[in-house]
């Protein structure tokens, strides 16, 4: 399986937001916990719509949550 080029800081941001659980985030953005698990492991790149919903859930711009390639400058 080719490595996904879209990375994220979802796990770190969850902990920084009152230690939000994967299930709580999943409920907020309208997906299953499995999808949040896959996102955090880097096994799945979300759709644009889901990326926007996640950014709204954290109250942060998309660029502070997701990055492309090896750019982890957040």
């Amino acid at each position: 399986m080719a490595k996904n080029l879209v990375g994220n800081h979802i796990r770190k941001l969850r902990f920084n937001h009152n230690e939000m659980t994967q299930q709580q985030l999943a409920d907020k953005v309208g997906v299953t916990r499995q999808t949040i698990v896959a996102l955090e492991k880097g096994n799945y790149s979300p759709s644009l719509e889901l990326a926007f919903r996640i950014s709204r859930a954290f109250g942060l711009p998309i660029e502070e949550i997701f990055f492309y390639g090896d750019d982890t400058s957040q």
Binding site: M1, V31, Q34, T35, A38, K41, N43, Y44
Partner: protein, 148 residues
């Protein structure tokens, strides 16, 4: 292991078991050599129809039992909907499943075109149906574990 992974494994095992048990049951009723063509066709037609019915009922029952056991052992509820990842994996599984079935179908047609016994065509079609079902489950399990 998540719900979807466990469900994929359960579906895979149950598909194999249901098919194996049913084949063993029907083997006893296999038409003898020299049976009339109509008799042979009727046998295979009933084989497929009854297998379809039995598979649907068995999968529903197994699914219900699986969900009950899952709730009891994990305390979690099964997902109430299919999100984008579920739909994407479903599409990939269906694609692989259909591809394999088409391959089997073409092989069955080759057997007809090369004057092989009619029974062989039915065997190939039924086997490819089973293998396509298994392939779909394996594809789902693979993507739920490794990602998309």
């Amino acid at each position: 292991m998540t719900y979807q992974e466990k469900k994929s494994i359960t579906t895979l095992i149950s598909a194999v078991l249901i098919f194996a048990v049913y084949c063993l049951y029907k083997y006893a009723q296999y038409p003898e050599e020299g049976m009339a063509l109509e008799e042979s066709i009727r046998y295979w037609g009933s084989f497929v129809l009854v297998l379809t019915l039995v598979s649907i009922v068995a999968h529903i029952v197994i699914n219900i039992i699986f969900n009950i056991i899952f709730r009891i052992t994990t305390g979690e509820k099964e997902p109430a909907f299919a999100d984008e990842l579920d739909k994407l994996i479903e599409l990939k599984a269906n694609r692989n499943s259909f591809f394999l079935f088409i391959l089997g179908f073409l092989l069955a047609m080759v057997s007809l075109a090369t004057d092989r016994p009619l029974n062989l065509m039915f065997l190939i079609l039924i086997a490819s149906g089973f293998l396509s079902d298994v392939t779909g489950s394996i594809t789902k399990l693979y993507h739920y574990r490794k990602g998309v």
